[in-house]
């Protein structure tokens, strides 16, 4: 899907004008949707210096597509060093690869949608739905974590698949 390949090529373009979105994205919790991994800090250094992470966490692309997209970003001025291209590509291809489920809005998703996500067992989904009924909508992962009474480590197993706004 060539047009999907270049999803990230759109990122800088959209957000060069509204560059405050980088900060806004952090406020909205996009930063927390970057799963742990070797290239995470590099993505923060290079991608987030120009545009919102929202674009990154919503993307689902294969390795070739990510390579093309990253190359395009570098041409536009993304502050990436030569030795960082490979680890960034590997990280993004794994964290946001074509097979990774799309983000689900935790504030509006149905039980079925939530249960389809990896690492979200039915019991946790039930707790989320109950907490959402009492304390939702959640603005960010911290609000969700408190509502669930869950440790950060446990939340990290699935939080990267949830979003809090569209």
């Amino acid at each position: 899907m060539h047009n999907r390949v270049l999803l990230l090529a759109a990122a800088l373009l959209i957000l060069t004008v509204t560059s405050t979105q980088g900060q806004k994205a952090k406020e909205e919790g996009w930063l927390e949707l970057l799963p742990p991994g070797d290239g995470r800090e590099l993505v923060l250094n290079s991608c987030a210096s120009c545009h919102s992470l929202k674009i990154v966490v919503h993307a689902r692309m294969g390795r070739a597509e990510w390579t093309k997209s990253i190359n395009d970003m570098i041409q536009r001025g993304a502050p990436v060093f030569p030795e960082e291209i490979e680890p960034i590509t590997i990280y993004l291809s794994k964290a946001f690869g074509a097979a990774v489920p799309k983000l689900v809005n935790v504030n509006t998703a149905s039980r079925e949608e939530l249960e389809k996500l990896p690492n979200l067992k039915p019991a946790i989904v039930a707790r989320i739905l109950e907490a959402r009924g009492k304390a939702g909508p959640f603005k960010n992962s911290e609000e969700l974590r408190r509502a669930l009474g869950m440790e950060k480590g446990d939340l990290e197993k699935f939080i990267y698949l949830l979003k809090f706004s569209n």
Partner: protein, 643 residues
């Protein structure tokens, strides 16, 4: 030459002395005599006129059109960028006997303004354009561009006869100046023939005095055709207001101390630097303390102009709030550009950062950010004074300590980014359709080292412009406008070439932009006046930027894969034929190996005095790039009668 003319007119330089000085300056005898013949009598040499000379004006009697021509002449106008209008005829009548004034005709009013704007930017002179009053709305988008960039333009239109106005009659409308109010620094409806020179002089003074901007005059036709009108013409140099304003010493000292004490300072170079020709001074200041420099614009880099050498080791490119380097900026010295747009969220400069904002446009200082110091002054003088103040405050050893390894760190940072860019660039280097980088890099290599680049790109622009070096002795960048209203570049490029006939000038356009505002019509003017501009259309058959933004928002267009607005491949415009219609040679380039040979042919055509166009097929990028879908509609099929 201006100085010579002034000495001749006002300081008693003899005719012989004038010619001798012209010859010494490299002009031919014919040229010297021609200039002399075009000048008004030298009052300083004529005892009987001494009294008048003291008044700095001369008396002229003639038609209103001649009064306008005389005042334009004394304002230094060589080119009249005109549009078709019967109301312009009295000025054209006057030009018949004034061969030193040259008419450049454009076939729409927006192009008149674009031509004048390009000419003004490349010459540093105030340019004059005039057209029909009913063409003012058509001209307004480029007037908007000129106002955003503070271009020194005097724009004029004719107007209905004085005694007939205000009736909403033939080609008349009420509140005639209202439509241009937002796009002009000053505007006036001339209502007395005797005051044509006075208001013209005022329009020139206001347009050229920094911060500049277009001014607008309306001339009722009856005033321009009036005969035997006697009026004062304001002599050259009598309405030039130098704005080389210095900051007071206490302010300079405070700035110098802040820079010395800053742990991680950053310098932003805006368009005032280019306007004031202050690049060498800014370079000296940056080097003195090894301060990293960004452009005054965000990320894309330069829009109006290039304000710091892009090949300098301290130059980082565009600014952003979350820059990877330098980290923890604690002071920003903003020299001559708008501070970054705060947007709707967090300000682009964190509140913890000291901001020193230096601009000639006092009314715009500190409007969007709390300042440590606001300084209304000329950036050139401020840079000079800062260098002197810093040197007087600290020893050479202390300076070395402050500089530390910032210069080397910055150089290494930029070099590593460049290396990554070159690496990434090569991935699709030999592929077709062309990448923007391959096309631009090959164009760069084919051009003369000190060519003028007149660019009007959208968001693909940074990829293209990074392939050129903009610096003293290297290429000069003009555009894109900060107003971003498309329909400017082709006309502006022609104006740049008129101002700089001995430099290679290339106009770089996207196909969408080139089709805006009747830009192909600029080829008519280029062809008629043998303006040898090379035009390259980066043709991806798309409003790429529009589609990318719309699709990235994830709305219905993205969900359904329906590109409702941006696809331009049907009709597939044949730019080669289009250029041919204006008598301009052109060719299409579709593969990488075709770029340089095509550029050679373009350069050869330019050497022969002919404009040339290259239609370069480039790839689309971003979401929806593969789509050729657009909403079909056939009016032909809606007919019940085939007429």
């Amino acid at each position: 030459m201006r100085e010579l003319v002034r000495n001749y007119l006002q300081n008693g330089l003899t005719r012989r002395g004038f010619v001798k000085s012209m010859l010494q300056s490299g002009f031919s005898l014919v040229a010297a005599n021609s200039v002399l013949a075009s000048l008004p009598p030298s009052f300083a040499q004529d005892e009987s006129k001494k009294e008048e000379a003291k008044s700095y004006t001369r008396i002229f009697r003639g038609t209103g059109g001649e009064l306008l021509a005389e005042q334009l002449h004394d304002a230094g106008v060589e080119y009249l960028f005109l549009g078709n209008a019967t109301g312009v005829s009295p000025l054209c009548d006057a030009v018949v006997d004034r061969p030193n004034m040259k008419i450049i005709l454009a076939v729409n009013e927006g192009l008149c303004v674009a031509l004048a704007d390009g000419y003004s930017r490349a010459s540093g002179k105030t340019a004059f354009a005039m057209f029909s009053r009913v063409g003012v709305p058509s001209a307004s988008s480029n007037m908007y561009n000129a106002m955003k960039d503070r271009s020194a333009l005097v724009i004029a239109s004719d107007h209905i006869e004085s005694l007939a106005s205000g009736r909403d009659s033939h080609e008349d409308f009420d509140d005639t100046l209202e439509p241009v109010k937002q796009f002009t620094k000053w505007r006036w409806n001339v209502d007395a023939a005797t005051r044509i020179p006075e208001w013209t002089m005022k329009a020139f003074k206001l347009a050229s005095t920094p911060p500049g901007g277009p001014t607008f005059l309306m001339f009722p036709r009856d005033l321009l055709v009036s005969r035997d009108v006697e009026a004062e013409i304001f002599l050259p140099g009598t309405f030039h207001i130098p704005m080389s304003v210095r900051a007071d010493s206490a302010t300079i000292d405070k700035m110098a101390r802040a820079l010395i004490e800053a742990r991680s300072p950053l310098l932003r170079a805006g368009a005032d630097v280019w306007r004031s020709k202050a690049i060498p001074q800014l370079v000296e200041l940056a080097e003195l303390l090894a301060i990293p420099v960004t452009s005054g614009e965000e990320r894309e880099g330069f829009r109006i102009s290039c304000n710091f050498p892009t090949n300098h080791p301290l130059f980082l490119g565009g600014y952003s709030r979350s820059m990877r380097y330098p980290r923890n900026v604690d002071l920003i010295l903003n020299m001559g550009g708008k501070l970054p747009d705060p947007g709707a969220g967090q300000p682009q400069i964190p509140r913890s950062v000291k901001i020193i904002d230096v601009r000639i446009e006092a009314s715009d200082i500190g409007n969007d950010y709390p300042l440590y110091l606001g300084v209304a002054a000329d950036v050139k003088k401020v840079a000079e004074d800062l260098v002197a103040a810093i040197k007087s405050m600290v020893t050479a050893e202390r300076l070395e300590q402050i500089r530390g390894d910032r210069m080397e760190q910055t150089r290494q940072f930029v070099a590593r980014l460049r290396q990554a860019r070159l690496q990434a660039m090569k991935a699709d280097w030999d592929k077709a359709p062309l990448t923007w980088e391959r096309l631009s890099c090959d164009i760069n290599e084919a051009l003369e080292r000190d060519a003028y680049i007149v660019a009007e790109f959208g968001t693909e622009g940074p990829k293209a412009l990074k392939c050129f070096t903009f610096a003293e002795g290297e290429k000069t960048l003009i555009g894109r406008t900060s107003g971003s209203a498309l329909g400017w570049g082709a006309g502006a490029a022609a104006g740049v070439k008129i101002a700089q006939p001995d430099k290679q000038v290339i106009s770089l356009q996207g196909d969408g932009g080139f089709l805006f505002g009747g830009q192909p019509m600029a080829l008519w003017t280029m062809s008629r006046y043998h303006i040898p501009v090379i035009t390259v259309v980066y043709n991806n058959r798309s409003y790429n930027e529009t589609r990318e933004r719309a699709f990235a928002e994830g709305g219905r267009q993205a969900q359904t894969g329906k590109d409702m607005l941006s696809y331009l491949g049907d009709p597939d415009v044949d730019f080669v034929k289009l250029a041919g219609a204006f008598g301009v040679s052109a060719e299409q380039v579709a593969t990488p190996d075709q770029i340089k040979p095509a550029m050679k042919r373009a350069a050869r055509a330019a050497q022969e005095g002919k404009p040339y166009l290259i239609d370069a097929v480039v790839g689309r990028t971003g979401r929806g790039a593969d789509l050729a879908w657009y909403p079909k509609l056939s009016v032909a099929e809606m007919r019940s009668r085939k007429v």
